[in-house]
Symmetry: C2
């Protein structure tokens, strides 16, 4: 995208051609490996070997597996974040006159996340395993969004409730349900019950 606009104080040190080539090889190999089997079992060694480069080269750019998965996931998550902020209702906020109810927006968000998980669980699992989930930038964004909706619905302690409303979107649970034969539609339907029950009909 950006080529050489003099943005900050120093001239951006261009990426060398061989480095760029290897970066592409790494991402392609990682995507393949994550999709092939259990993403949490993929090792840095596996990726280096599949990409046809040395371990040292891999570690130069990516400190761990999660950072590689995040690089692959990033654009998809950003696209959803954009839709939440500026997209059409009920996902986006809508016009001042026709703002969708918080419960509607939460249900729409749930549905969009189910869609994203259905396409990219393998990447999410590669990126955030267990407790690491809560330290990602993406989680902070979802949390902010849901807390905002909970506050708009007049719920007490919206931040705590936001964490609890995000919990059923944990990638481990999603995979467990999908492997148990549960369809994305059923998952989304359950989440819709949660959304309307929790943020609908103000007491």
């Amino acid at each position: 995208m950006t080529t050489d606009l003099p943005l900050a104080d120093g001239p951006p040190p261009r990426e060398r051609a061989d480095a760029a080539r290897n970066r592409a090889k790494v991402l392609a190999a990682a995507e393949r490996l994550f999709a092939a089997g259990d993403p949490t079992a993929v090792t840095m060694d596996d990726i280096a070997r599949a990409a046809g480069i040395g371990r040292g080269t891999l570690y130069r750019r990516y400190p761990d597996r999660a950072s590689i998965a995040r690089a692959l996931l990033d654009e998809h998550e950003r696209a959803l974040q954009e839709r939440l902020l500026r997209g059409d209702p009920p996902l986006g906020p809508g016009d001042a006159g026709a703002a969708p109810a918080p419960a509607e927006r939460l249900a729409a968000f749930y549905a969009a996340m189910v869609e994203l998980l259905e396409t990219h669980v393998h990447l999410v699992l590669g990126a955030e395993t267990g407790a690491a989930r809560y330290r990602t930038g993406a989680y902070a964004f979802w949390r902010l969004h849901v807390a905002h909706l909970a506050r708009a619905a007049g719920r007490p302690d919206p931040e705590v409730l936001a964490d609890q409303l995000l919990a059923p979107l944990a990638p481990e649970l999603f995979r467990h349900q999908r492997e148990g034969g549960v369809t994305p539609a059923r998952i989304a339907a359950g989440l819709a019950v949660l959304a309307h029950g929790t943020l609908g009909r103000p007491d």
Copy 2:
């Protein structure tokens, strides 16, 4: 407890005195280590060394860290399960005449689980990390219980909803919230909102 009642087909091979002694040393050492720092970072080596026994001896009885944590957690989880099945309302089912509403029972279950987590998160984290959670017997029990309540409340697809209602009890989330300064009372309050919103007031 049991000495030599002829229960099944074979005479139960008694546990030797030294073995029993070592088992106790292992459990005591493990409890200490889990409580001391990050339970997910405790290794089999650590436990063997802290218990003053060899690795081979440790592996003889426990195949991995999770099985040790589960042995320590077992009695506490059983006690709660007993209360769910036969305890006083609203945790237990109550008499036929005065059965508590499903939402009440779910909220009571949530509160009891928060209490259990507050006392034993370190053990739960040692026992079930990430996806392993869904394969434990305890999880199967909680799931059955919550699905039963969801069905009693007339909710569609109670099994799917049960998984989603159990997600906010994930030990990683609990620890994250507690370390973020959230009190058990606030966690329980958020869960109560979830319980009453989702299983309360039949549509």
